[in-house]
């Protein structure tokens, strides 16, 4: 028998036997046992047997190094007996302090122990065994773990509070993507309250990619982060709330791992970029407006150095943006106007704006152009003036068009007046000598018509001032209008048709007054007054002509051209109501005409 013979060869209780009384050993609060150089247990105390849960046989070569059948490392891996610290101490002579070893009792109960081992040597220094003093730390470990657990829970609670208070939407999921936590900001952003443990991948209701196409939840950045176990950055998406409103956002999904590197979930932050997007959109729209404006839009700093240069500026001045940015704005000033810029810069630094200043600038090729310039100070976010924007509009074309228009008006006038003069000549030739007075009356009517045209021409045929019209009609007939006429009425621009008709009527009244009325003697006076009433549906002009101090008036026996013109033509052309009265004191004419 191999075992038996071995037992006989090696005296069991030899050198390692502790020279201590067993009773004393058993009273120690710690577990103690010793092994010989072969690892056989030579002695142990009661505490050791308690922890092992059994009483090993002394010197049994079948169970070496430890009195427990099964041992484990603290992380749960099995620990074979020959790898125990006891075996190591016996074979290498090393001591071990406070090493953790898990003992499994025959009942299956596991006891966490801390072991302290020292080798035992004889007088020659040869290792003859080792002594192991160990104690049960299971209870202490439990307390510690519990304490640690409380601390973790407390820290988690605090973290939750912090997350809850953050103004940014934050939520977490487990490894399968089921939502385990979300904060109030997430509720506000998604417009809903996600169902914990059921809703997956994202707190939002519906998702879209930034191009507007639908984004299924299981393809969202958070889902990708969980599936690919990596954080996702730099993606934008759009969330739709149940009420249909949309929120553009940037997600920051980050997977979470435990100590062993196992995926345990993920956390995601959704950054609402509505404001940023709005600002970007606005800035982009503004930039596009500036870029594609026909006007040259240029910005310069307070030293007059060009900072930006749009397409309009390229077109207007002939310089490409890269040729002028960084150069002084003076390059656009013709040599004769170099002194303009310091003045403009001074006004800008004082925060003033220069509006529609018409000046001349020079193109790259040296040619000059007429521009209308508006310069406004540019302020930074703090309100400090950092430069100026200049908007330059080419007015060469406008000038040319104005000139062309003036030329056309002149030409038209020339033609009309020559035609009237020709008609006058034809009449004079036709009725030569026959109807002297009639011809004179005809000529004066023709001239009156022509004067009304002049009044209109001065306003470019947009209308004529009533005051001017009245004065123009009186002038050829009355040499001293100031003494004979009293003219009162508000400024009033009459449209061409009204102006022409009214002016003809006034002419007839004037010539009549010169022949038979207030202008015949030196004492007569004529009062012309008008006002505008804003009656419905349109404003109306009330004009009154009143003669006094002339010869006694008799009602004419027949209606002449003048009367008919005033009473009928005016009424017909203007829709006017005309009252022509011939009281003995002097002619009174009241005209009421719609103005629109």
């Amino acid at each position: 028998m191999a075992a038996g013979s071995l037992a006989e060869k090696i005296p069991i209780m030899r050198a390692p036997a502790l020279p201590v009384d067993q009773t004393i050993l058993d009273l120690l609060p710690a577990a103690v046992y010793a092994c010989d150089a072969e690892g056989r247990i030579t002695r142990y105390n009661r505490k050791a047997a308690e922890i092992w849960g059994r009483e090993p046989r002394i010197g049994d070569p079948g169970e070496l190094y430890c009195g427990s059948y099964r041992l484990f490392w603290p992380d749960g891996r099995p620990l074979v007996h020959r790898d125990t610290p006891m075996a190591d101490a016996i074979h290498t002579g090393r001591s071990h302090r406070e090493m953790e070893v898990v003992i499994e009792q025959p009942s299956g109960r596991r006891i966490h122990t801390r072991v302290n081992i020292d080798p035992i040597r004889d007088e020659t220094g040869e290792i003859i065994g080792a002594i192991n003093c160990f104690h049960d730390v299971t209870a202490r470990r439990e307390t510690e773990r519990k304490r640690r657990g409380d601390a973790v829970r407390e820290s988690e609670r605090r973290l939750r509070e912090v997350l809850e208070a953050l103004p940014t939407a934050i939520y977490a999921t487990d490894a399968e993507g089921r939502i385990t936590f979300y904060n109030q900001a997430a509720v506000e952003m998604s417009g809903r309250r996600p169902e914990l443990g059921t809703d997956k991948w994202c707190v939002t209701w519906k998702l879209y990619r930034s191009d507007g196409s639908p984004l299924p939840h299981d393809q969202c950045p958070m889902a990708i982060a969980l599936k690919e176990k990596r954080p996702i950055r730099g993606v934008e998406a759009i969330a739709e709330r149940p009420d249909g409103t949309r929120v553009p956002f940037v997600p920051y999904p980050t997977p979470l791992f435990d100590e062993a590197g196992t995926l345990v979930g993920a956390v995601n932050m959704l950054l609402d970029i509505t404001d940023r997007r709005k600002a970007e959109d606005y800035a982009q729209r503004l930039a596009a407006i500036v870029e594609f404006s026909d006007d040259a839009i240029v910005s310069k700093n307070t030293l007059g150095v060009i900072q930006t240069w749009n397409k309009g500026a390229e077109h207007l001045f002939g310089y490409e943006a890269h040729e002028v940015i960084g150069r002084p704005v003076n390059i656009l000033l013709p040599p004769a106007r170099q002194d303009e810029e310091p003045g403009i810069l001074d006004r800008i630094r004082r925060g003033e704006r220069i509006d529609h200043y018409e000046t001349v600038r020079m193109r790259k090729d040296g040619s000059l152009l007429d521009i209308s310039l508006t310069v406004s100070p540019l302020k930074n976010a703090e309100g400090k003036i950092v430069g100026a924007s200049k908007i330059a509009r080419d007015i060469t074309e406008r000038r040319r068009q104005e000139e062309r228009r003036q030329l056309l008006v002149n030409e038209l006038n020339h033609r009309v007046k020559n035609t009237l003069a020709t008609v006058q000549s034809i009449a004079a030739q036709t009725f030569r000598g026959d109807h002297g007075a009639s011809l004179q009356q005809f000529e004066s009517r023709l001239v009156a018509l022509s004067r009304a045209h002049d009044a209109l021409t001065r306003e470019s045929w947009e209308g004529a001032e009533l005051q001017e019209l009245v004065e123009g009609t009186i002038a050829p007939i009355c040499a001293e209008p100031a003494e004979r006429f009293e003219i009162t009425g508000p400024p009033l621009l009459l449209r061409p048709k009204v102006a022409l008709s009214l002016s003809m009527a006034l002419h007839e009244l004037c010539t009549n007054a010169a022949k038979y009325g207030a202008l015949v003697n030196g004492a007569g006076r004529i009062k012309i007054t008008w006002q505008v009433t804003s009656s419905n549906p349109e404003p109306r002009l009330h004009l009154r002509w009143e003669e006094t101090g002339g010869p006694r008036v008799e009602t004419p026996s027949r209606r002449g051209f003048g009367t008919r013109l005033i009473e009928r033509a005016l009424a017909r052309e203007l829709g006017a109501q005309v009252k022509l009265l011939f009281p003995p004191s002097g002619v009174i004419c009241e005209i009421e005409a719609p103005l629109s």
């Binding site: 002149n410 006038n413 020339h414 033609r415 009309v416 007046k417 020559n418 009237l420 003069a421 020709t422 008609v423 006058q424 000549s425 034809i426 004079a428 030739q429 030569r432 000598g433 109807h435 002297g436 007075a437 009639s438 011809l439 004179q440 009356q441 000529e443 004066s444 023709l446 001239v447 022509s450 002049d454 021409t457 001065r458 050829p476 007839e508 010539t511 009549n512 022949k515 038979y516 004419p556 026996s557 027949r558 002449g560 051209f561 003048g562 009367t563």
Partner: protein, 136 residues
């Protein structure tokens, strides 16, 4: 307004002294208008030295012609007649403009020149002539 009165414009009382009978050049491209001016002047007792309607003719006569005063249409068939006015200014011959443009239509260089706005009556013409210092 009723047709009373018996004055004929063509037999109007003379507006100028026959002693100041002037020889007048009329530059006018509208034949009928020229005729009207001619009649008006004749009835005032003046003499119409010549009526020209084309630019070259007008320039020629402005250079060499002999007259006391000129009435010039500003627009001669689309061309401004200022060269004629310049020649007359150089020779010291007074002139008035007749124009459909009115005073605004005249080159500012000639702002001092009396202007007749077409159409005009004989009285207007007489008044303007009396204000102009003819070279005698």
């Amino acid at each position: 307004m009723s047709g009373h009165g018996a004055q004929s414009p063509l037999q109007a009382k003379p507006t100028s002294d026959p002693a100041k009978k002037l020889c007048i050049l009329v530059v006018e491209d509208e034949g009928m208008v020229a005729m009207l001016i001619e009649d008006m002047l004749t009835h005032m007792g003046h003499e119409v030295g010549a009526v020209v309607s084309r630019m070259e003719e007008a320039l020629q006569i402005a250079k060499t012609g002999s007259f006391d005063l000129a009435i010039i249409d500003v627009n001669l068939d689309g061309q401004p007649s200022y060269p004629v006015a310049e020649l007359l200014t150089a020779r010291g011959i007074p002139f008035v403009f007749a124009t459909g443009y009115g005073r605004q239509g005249v080159d500012p260089k000639f702002a001092q020149v009396p202007t007749l706005a077409k159409p005009f009556v004989s009285k207007d013409l007489a008044k303007l002539l009396s204000q102009t210092e003819p070279r005698l």
